[in-house]
């Protein structure tokens, strides 16, 4: 059904309302005049988009309304939407001015959009490029984007978008080739000499460095040809497309020398004086630039750190080995003489085996091979990449107090910095968040960390048992009934045992001339409960006092009765302050036994800050992926609406929580909320669904109710 186009007045009224004209005093006449000329569908599209952006910022929305028509003329609707979202995203991350310039600078967005249509975009390809990089041997490198491609020997930087070639697939290949080339620099030892020392002394050095870089590229190509012939073919193909092959052929002789198996970075350096700059081929399409100062800084730090870690690890190996021998030879007292440092040796793999020159060398101590841990192997392969060998000064075990390793540990991460860093970071998980107004996820929005709860060994557990003695008894009884019992099924066609009654009956039948019936066995039917449940306990500041106490008591009682059922369960507390600090407190993991430590951790559950919810539900959903169970249940204990210090209030928080619950449901997780908030009837049905919540009016009832609800939820 086609609707009539809106009139100018309608449009003004609509804009006035969503741009809050009473306060903002924007002038809606001009945009309305333009919008009125459009068909109704496009009018609606623009007005809706304006409304969505207005949820973020009025001024931004006004600019959008003014520019939207031109955008619609130039791009598809979904691209116009992407343009608006880019602007709001800029607003969130960088502020109003950068966001405004996205809107105003429509032309460059359109231009970019055209490029993107055939270009390859780093953000989109990184999920493939990163595992690709990790599959190549050597040090575990990181990946990030920067204006030009280069590497500092720990991270490879690639341009945010590549549009050199006409097809997206080719541009992706170019990413791959660029990645591989910089990986090869690290892996095949371009930086095993200090290039700054060699090429910074005279006026000529810039030219020398250029020549070196061209020669080195040929050498690395040859290495890639040997190890990754398929990739080499792709790289040649790219060069051919970009007419870069001819120049390469001019250096045929040099290429032969550089391609020899034993050639190294020194070969390239030696050849520098033999070539003229004019003859140098231009940079190949996959060559980035040399950032020698970044390389030097990163390398020096790493070499020092890894040497320390390696030598300390060796000293532990030596200690273990010596203890071992001390046990074996009882006569010898086995005390290693003080001051004597343990020396290790390297056993090189046979030459025949060296197809893998990835540093798979073996470690010897006192003439015997020693087993190496994952940690040591990683260190060795990284050290090997830096030196092409394991230097002998690395091979003496560290003395007792020679190093303080804590010096090398990563300084505590500032969550605000998290996006600047690369895509994997220890101990931190990043989640999207749903923005209802924009109908769009904020990408990588929340930073979640799992935090250990210190156990407090006090009388809380005993006190709780005493206090709820009667309740516990009756709960135990009702849970025992629930426990899956083995049932003996009779008259089965197959089974473990003979059903004597049926058999006797059957013999009678046979004697009277009837056929032997078939169902003569008994079988044990194993009624197996396969339930996994995760409890998420509100630890926000508002739970202070009675609520906290009741929550803790509920958890103790619940754990007591769950032990009867044998259901697997985990308990986590959640709280946080803004999206950059979402903290999940580990009280009991799913496979942990319910023991004194768990009880002591429950005892130490303390109110913290605010309640952001979606991010935790997403995290727990991810956890459930690794848990195998027929029934997966997420139960939240809470005292109120989601609420956080930043914008996680009201509708926004409720809708994000609802969205995350929906995501959980898609993964087959049932969610249920138990709350103490009397007003919860206003928002919980919307979030959890009508039947999936319970409001408890009296805090004192909580311990009883929680167990009771659990029983109800997990039967039939």
């Amino acid at each position: 059904m086609a609707h009539e186009p809106l009139s100018t007045e309608d449009i003004i009224a609509c804009l006035d309302e969503c741009l809050e004209v009473e306060f903002s005093f924007v002038e809606n006449e001009t945009p309305a005049q333009a919008i009125v000329k459009l068909p109704r569908r496009e009018q609606d599209f623009i007005l809706n988009l304006t409304r969505r952006v207005a949820g973020t910022n009025i001024k931004l929305a006004y600019q959008l309304a003014c520019h939207a028509i031109r955008a619609l003329e130039a791009m598809e609707q979904h691209m116009v939407e992407a343009w608006a979202m880019t602007a709001t995203d800029h607003y969130d991350r960088k502020g109003l001015l950068p966001a405004m310039s996205v809107i105003r600078d429509l032309d460059s967005f359109i231009d970019n959009a055209r490029k993107r249509a055939c270009g390859a975009v780093f953000e989109e390809q990184v999920s493939v490029l990163l595992p690709f990089l990790h599959g190549l041997s050597g040090r575990k490198l990181k990946l990030n984007s920067a204006d030009r491609a280069y590497t500092d020997t720990e991270t490879i930087y690639l341009p945010p978008i590549l549009t050199t070639l006409p097809e997206m697939q080719e541009n992706f290949l170019l990413y791959k080739a660029t990645l591989a080339h910089h990986w090869a620099q690290i892996q095949y030892g371009t930086f095993r000499v200090d290039l700054i020392d060699i090429y910074s002394n005279d006026a000529n050095s810039e030219i020398q460095l250029k020549k070196f870089y061209a020669l080195e590229a040929l050498r690395l190509d040859a290495c890639i040809q040997r190890e990754l012939p398929g990739l080499y073919r792709d790289m040649q193909m790219l060069k051919q497309k970009l007419n870069q092959l001819d120049n390469q052929h001019r250096w045929q002789d040099l290429q032969t020398i550089l391609s020899e198996q034993h050639s190294s970075v020194h070969t390239s350096i030696e050849l520098v004086d033999k070539v003229k700059l004019e003859d140098c081929p231009e940079l190949f399409c996959y060559q980035g630039e040399l950032q020698l100062h970044a390389v030097r800084e990163i390398m020096n730090k790493r070499i020092e750190r890894e040497k320390a870690c390696f030598r300390v690890a060796l000293s532990e190996v030596a200690k273990e080995t010596l203890q071992q021998t001390a046990c074996d030879e009882t006569e010898n007292t086995g005390e290693p003489t003080k001051g004597e440092t343990a020396m290790f040796e390297i056993r090189e793999p046979d030459a025949a085996q060296s197809a893998f020159n990835d540093g798979t060398v073996e470690l010897q101590f006192e003439g015997e091979l020693v087993p190496t841990s994952e940690h040591i192997r990683k260190l060795m392969s990284s050290i090997f990449v830096d030196f092409g060998e394991i230097p002998s000064e690395h091979l003496t075990a560290a003395g007792p107090d020679e190093y303080d390793l804590s010096k090398y540990e990563d300084s505590k991460l500032d969550p605000g910095e998290v996006w600047k860093d690369t895509y994997h970071k220890e101990g931190v998980e990043i989640y999207n968040e749903w923005n209802v107004q924009r109908q769009h996820y904020h990408k990588n929005w929340c930073v979640l960390r799992e935090i250990d709860v210190q156990p407090v060994y006090d009388s809380f557990y005993q006190d709780t048992l005493t206090k709820h003695k009667g309740l516990l008894k009756s709960l135990r009884h009702s849970f025992e009934i629930l426990r899956g019992e083995d049932k003996l099924l009779k008259k089965q066609p197959h089974g473990d045992d003979i059903d004597i009654d049926a058999f006797v009956e059957a013999c009678g039948d046979v004697l009277s001339g009837m056929e032997m019936p078939e169902n003569l066995f008994t079988k044990i039917h194993k009624e197996k409960r396969n339930v996994a449940v995760i409890f998420m306990v509100d630890m926000s500041g508002s739970t202070c006092g009675w609520i906290n106490q009741a929550e803790k008591e509920s958890l103790i009682l619940l754990a007591e009765v769950l032990e009867i059922l044998g259901d697997r369960y985990a308990i986590y507390g959640f709280s946080g302050m803004t999206r950059k600090r979402c903290e999940l407190f580990k009280i009991k993991t799913i496979d942990e036994d319910y023991d004194d430590n768990v009880r002591a951790r429950i005892s130490n559950i303390k109110p913290q800050d605010y309640t952001r919810m979606g991010v935790f539900i997403r995290h727990i959903t991810r956890m459930f992926n690794d848990i195998e169970a027929d029934t997966k249940l997420l139960i939240t204990l809470s005292d109120g609406k989601p609420d956080d210090y930043d914008t996680y209030r009201g509708e926004y928080g409720v809708e994000d929580t609802r969205q995350s619950l929906y995501e959980a449901k898609q993964q087959g997780i049932h969610s249920f909320c138990i709350t103490l908030d009397e007003k919860a009837r206003d928002y919980l049905p919307h979030m959890y669904g009508a039947a999936n919540y319970a409001v408890i009016d009296d805090v004192a009832q909580l311990p009883l109710k929680v167990s009771d609800i659990y029983r109800r939820l997990t039967t039939g």
């Binding site: 595992p131 085996q353 032997m516």
Partner: protein, 270 residues
């Protein structure tokens, strides 16, 4: 219904299976066998455990009875049960009882998959009593020195729930299996499939790439078994990149990005 059971002599491994020793596993197994100690083989999937036990059965000239364990396996499935035939009940030995009677090697594959109450029936067999109580017929079977119990277990992917109980595992001599080193693995692929050495060694490189991705996107890297599969396809005329995709990548993950990344890796190699 007459149950069909193989006669023990049908369980002999007649031809020498190809097995490439990786460490001292053969000597250890022989010693354990001589000393009547049960053996636990642990290691990731497809690294040669089943092949090894077959080889040992051949070498020791004992019949081999293999039971693939699953979570519905009951004690009766192992020990035996009554059946009814022509109006009478007859007792049928389960595989474990048969192995004990005939002095065979009984190999319980993936033993963690069974329920814990099933696992306990092997306890008296696995300690110095070496007996199999058969409660239903009121008999206690004593194992001769020829009988051997071996179980396998993959410590990698099970949840902690399915871990072997200490009381079970501490009865065994444990042999740790891992993927062989590059040279040996290449050799295995060549002997198993007759593919050329160069392709085999590229396949092994590909396997190492996927094993490096374990933990950052993959749950498990490519096993020797998968390499053998891929090599067989290649020998039959399939392009190496396609073989890597269908025989290896697709079997270890469903994740689209990881599949693309693995495809890029294999096409870099071939």
């Amino acid at each position: 219904m007459q149950p069909k059971t193989l006669k023990p002599e049908e369980y002999f491994v007649k031809d020498e299976p190809y097995y490439q020793p990786v460490d001292e596993e053969i000597a250890v197994f022989e010693a354990a066998y001589a000393q009547c100690l049960p053996v636990l083989l642990k290691g990731p999937t497809g690294c040669g455990k089943t092949r090894f036990i077959k080889y040992m059965a051949w070498k020791l000239k004992r019949p081999l009875i293999t039971v693939s364990c699953h979570d519905d396996l009951t004690a009766s499935d192992l020990v035996g049960r009554f059946l009814i035939s022509g109006g009478e009940t007859i007792w049928i030995d389960g595989p474990l009882a048969r192995a004990v009677r005939h002095g065979a090697i009984c190999y319980l594959d993936e033993v963690v998959e069974t329920r814990k109450d099933t696992t306990v029936v092997i306890h008296p067999l696995a300690d110095d009593r070496r007996v199999l109580p058969m409660e239903k017929v009121g008999e206690i079977l004593e194992a001769t020195s020829k009988f051997c119990l071996a179980i396998s277990y993959n410590p990698g992917y099970q949840s902690v729930m399915k871990d072997l109980k200490q009381s079970t595992r501490q009865r065994f001599v444990a042999l740790d299996f891992d993927y062989p080193n590059a040279t040996l693995e290449t050799e295995i692929i060549v002997s198993e499939t007759g593919i050329d050495k160069n392709t085999a060694s590229q396949l092994v490189k590909f396997a190492h790439m996927t094993r490096d991705l374990k933990g950052s996107g993959l749950d498990e890297g490519a096993s020797t078994r998968l390499l053998v599969h891929a090599a067989k396809l290649i020998r039959d005329g399939i392009k190496p990149v396609t073989a890597c995709k269908t025989a290896i990548a697709q079997t270890i993950t469903d994740d689209a990005d990881m599949l693309t990344a693995m495809h890029e890796l294999s096409s870099s190699l071939f």
